[in-house]
């Protein structure tokens, strides 16, 4: 008999502008000790399922139909008091962000002990003893001592171990993990995933793994359900679904996952649309006549160095004080040197806190390096003794940011956002020319000229990233810095944006500095790659060498931790575009 049974579950959100059907009737069952993944892109409705099962669906969300059965009992109709006895005791839950999941004002031991005491007649002293044992079990060193510490004294990975302890300390039969490793670095992610898998196996606990990450699904789950727009489109044994997806949406999702084993010219794209409309073709432009071509001559090819970073070092003040001995700073980037050749894509890869974004910002001129220089086209543009950047150089270096929601001014029309650089640098003869250039640019990044009249909130994350790209192109740059341009996007949107960047680079002869924490993405995009760790460059080599013959142990470690999705053989599906 299954442990959890969802029968035709429907979840609605009543909003001011009508009802949104988040989950449109799904059936799913989980057996004791089984790990089932729910995978889908943002807005697919996967997180609401977890909240609905545990009875914490927040208004305006509500269960609009169907039934939830747990261990032979129907639980969606239970009273709040009865449900509270199930929460924690029978069903545990783990949330995405370990940094905000713990009460900052209570010690770890307090939080575990109160949860144990809540669900059994254990004395506090006994609960504290159990807590020590549990913390040891999830791999926290010195549990006796760390029990008395507060959440802020733990790192992100350690906090997630504490969260896992809290979710499992009352011995539940089912645990719901809502994106449990999304906020973590890849190395920590691997540890947490194997810990969760081990604990579920040892304790014979059923688990629901809600994630957008195919890698996580392939590492952990026994079965997987693929969700799209509130429906489960495909369910099956994980390895089977990953290797031979049957539904067109699963196929498109899998084909968009960047491969770590070989570089492809473009992402094969299977544009899945429910209405079956064909994808639009991009217009190829003639640079000799186009506005974008009217820039300084780009010298092509050769080994010519376009940008050089010389001994870049960046120190941030972490504690200000009048008394010098009390001042503290930390070195985010430590003596970094590399050069980028004209027309290539240079990648920087590293975990969070490795200093890669700081490098990008120093090169862009947003930060002044504490030591070292940035040299662009033979000219020193960044450094303590550098001249302020001339408008001509300023125009040549543009950047695409990580967060599509904060990178556009929400109070400006899209057209004005893209027109701003053109008007600021006087790149158009008249306002009407600026207008037509903007329309053309928006069209060129695949948005259509009509987008100019709207405000950013009318667009999705991927569309906003296209607007960002159009704005960056509007100064006619030679050098484009892409700082995690797709890490906030769904995987199929990521594939589209990366393809667009590849196309634009080929078309305009752009030089790219591409920054990412995601190794497969780096492999797909970059010619040469620098690996960063704690502000230092540990290895610099051609992309093929980094992936096939890594020299530095850290690179090897990163590669080994990378979750691998066995890429399905796309040739068996009909609609894949190369």
């Amino acid at each position: 008999m299954s442990l959890l049974d969802l029968r035709n579950l429907r979840i609605d959100f009543d909003t001011r502008r009508g009802t949104v059907e988040a989950v449109r009737g799904i059936d799913l069952s989980i057996a004791r000790g089984e790990i089932v993944g729910i995978v889908g892109e943002s807005g697919a409705g996967k997180s609401t399922i977890g909240n609905a099962v545990i009875g914490l669906l927040e208004p305006p969300g509500r269960i609009a139909g169907g039934e939830v059965w747990f261990d032979g009992q129907r639980i969606d109709t239970l009273s709040e008091a009865a449900m509270r006895r199930i929460r924690g005791r029978r069903i545990g839950m783990i949330f995405q962000d370990p940094m905000t999941s713990l009460n900052p004002l209570l010690t770890i031991g307090d939080q575990i002990a109160e949860t144990i005491c809540q669900h059994s007649d254990t004395s506090r002293a006994e609960a504290l003893r159990q807590a020590v044992a549990l913390l040891a079990e999830v791999g926290i060193p010195n549990p006796e001592q760390r029990m008395n510490e507060y959440p802020h004294q733990f790192s992100g990975g350690m906090r997630q171990r504490v969260v896992i302890t809290l979710a499992l300390c009352a011995n539940p039969d089912l645990v719901i993990c809502d994106e449990p490793t999304t906020a973590l670095d890849v190395s920590v992610q691997a540890q947490i995933l194997s810990l969760l898998r081990r604990l579920c196996r040892e304790r014979n606990v059923g688990a629901i793994f809600i994630t957008h990450d195919m890698g996580v699904i392939s590492e952990v789950t026994d079965r997987v359900a693929v969700m799209h727009h509130g429906l489960i489109v495909e369910t099956g044994d994980t390895q089977t679904v990953l290797a031979h997806p049957r539904h067109a949406y699963s196929q498109s999702l899998l084909s968009a996952v960047p491969r770590a084993d070989a570089r492809l010219a473009r992402f094969p794209q299977l544009d899945y649309r429910e209405d079956g409309a064909p994808p639009e073709e991009r217009q190829v432009i003639d640079l000799s006549t186009h506005w974008l071509g009217r820039r300084g001559k780009a010298v092509q090819g050769g080994d010519q160095t376009l940008l050089e970073a010389r001994n870049l070092t960046m120190r941030f003040v972490s504690h200000r004080s009048i008394i010098p001995a009390w001042r503290r700073d930390f070195t985010a980037v430590d003596d970094l040197s590399f050069d980028i050749k004209r027309g290539e894509t240079f990648g920087l890869v590293g975990e969070s806190g490795s200093g890669k974004s700081t490098v990008a910002r120093m090169i862009a001129g947003l930060y002044t390096p504490s030591v070292g220089q940035v040299v662009y086209d033979g000219q020193v543009i960044g450094g303590t003794d550098a001249q302020p950047m001339a408008a001509k150089v300023r125009q040549q270096i543009q950047m695409i940011f990580q967060d599509p929601f904060s990178s556009l001014n929400r109070r400006m029309r899209v057209g004005d956002i893209v027109a701003e650089p053109i008007l600021h640098h006087g790149l158009a003869a008249s306002r009407s020319e600026a207008q037509s250039v903007v329309a053309d640019l928006l069209d060129h990044v695949g948005l259509g000229a009509d987008a100019a009249h709207k405000y950013p909130h009318a667009f999705s994350g991927g569309q906003r990233q296209r607007i960002s790209i159009a704005r960056a192109l509007a100064t006619r740059p030679q050098f484009l810095i892409c700082d995690e341009p797709t890490s906030a996007l769904d995987v199929s949107i990521q594939a589209q944006i990366l393809n667009l960047l590849k196309d634009l680079q080929a078309e305009l002869g752009l030089t790219l500095l591409f920054i990412s924490h995601d190794l497969p993405v780096i492999r797909q995009m970059c010619d040469r790659v620098g690996v960063m760790k704690s502000g230092k460059l540990v290895e610099l080599a051609a992309a093929e060498d980094i992936f096939e013959a890594p020299k530095h142990p850290y690179t090897t470690e990163l590669l080994s931790l990378m979750p691998r999705v066995t890429a399905p053989d796309a040739s068996e599906w009909a609609a894949v575009k190369g």
């Binding site: 001011r16 910002r361 947003l366 543009q398 950047m399 990178s407 001014n409 929400r410 400006m412 306002r431």
Partner: protein, 312 residues
């Protein structure tokens, strides 16, 4: 955006009508009533000269024999004076209209003053950081140590010491506006600074810097529109606060001179008669003040919840 290159395909009114703010406004009947009430009172005060039955500060139009009349519905009342008259025969209804005109004028101008100072200081402190920030925030801290009423009293006291008493009446209103305005800028500055520090690190600001746009343009054209929400909330709530402060100062005898009445001086002037039974001289101006402040507060409260549910 003022100089948009792109003509909107929908009219501004359509956009406003369909905005979340407007929808949430129409969803809250209390707010709608409050807003209508506040507007009615403001317009009535602005049109005091037209609406009032007589000009209570025109000696020719008052009659000493009409003094201390109770409201019209009480025995002995007079239909010409619906809310009764005061000790010199001025109609209470008319004095309230003229008085609230003064109160609203002082409220609006002093809030405008604190808004301009506070927003500018907050933008600079938040965007520039470092030394400018430290200086502005220290000044704000000192200012915070001294509550509004106290600062206003002090400023008024100092001016009394410097200026000869004969000129006091002429500058009294200006003094009042300055002292209320100068003691309230800190709230704007702190809120704008906090929001600006968040906006400063937003990627759209970095993008603007990469284009080469100067700090002033970034502050006023990019950041300012994005921090308007808290500014509007504080301005509304401060308007009611300023009207209250004006009334309080006038009550304490350091505000508006009795020759140019405000709601505060009317209430103050009436207290002497309260104990002899002429309650209407104090209670009606008091009620008008409370109603005005209450409606503005209701609108401000709603605005705070509607614009940002997490704003304290």
């Amino acid at each position: 955006m003022r100089n948009s290159v792109f003509a909107p395909p929908v009219t501004r009114w359509q956009r406003i009508r369909q905005s979340d703010l407007m929808l949430s406004f129409l969803e809250s009947p209390v707010t709608v009533i409050a807003a209508v009430g506040a507007l009615l009172m403001i317009f009535a005060a602005l049109g005091a000269g037209v609406i009032a039955f007589h000009d209570p500060y025109d000696m020719a139009s008052i009659d000493i024999f009409d003094s201390n009349l109770p409201p019209a519905w009480v025995e002995g009342g007079d239909a010409r004076y619906p809310l009764g008259t005061d000790a010199v025969g001025r109609g209470i209804f008319s004095t309230i209209l003229y008085g609230s005109r003064m109160s609203i004028f002082i409220g609006v101008t002093s809030v405008a003053l604190s808004l301009v100072i506070g927003v500018t200081a907050g933008l600079i402190a938040g965007y520039r950081g470092g030394f400018m920030d430290a200086v502005i925030m220290r000044i704000a801290e000192v200012q915070l140590a001294l509550p509004t009423i106290l600062v206003a009293l002090l400023i008024s006291g100092i001016l009394r010491a410097i200026a000869p008493p004969s000129t006091m009446d002429k500058v009294a209103i200006l003094v009042l506006i300055l002292s209320i305005g100068l003691s309230n800028w800190v709230q704007f500055a702190r809120a704008v600074r906090a929001s600006t520090m968040v906006e400063r690190s937003q990627e759209y600001v970095l993008a603007a810097r990469l284009i080469g746009i100067g700090p002033l343009t970034i502050m006023f054209r990019h950041i300012l529109p994005n921090v308007m929400g808290p500014i509007m909330v504080i301005a509304t709530l401060n308007l009611s606060g300023a009207i209250l402060t004006e009334a309080t100062l006038s009550f304490l005898g350091v505000g508006v001179p009795p020759t140019q009445p405000s709601l505060g001086t009317l209430i103050n002037g009436g207290t002497d008669y309260l104990f002899s039974g002429s309650w209407w001289i104090t209670i009606f101006p008091g009620a008008a003040l409370a109603l005005l402040v209450l409606t503005v507060n209701l609108v401000g409260d709603w605005l705070r919840d509607a614009l940002n549910p997490t704003l304290g």
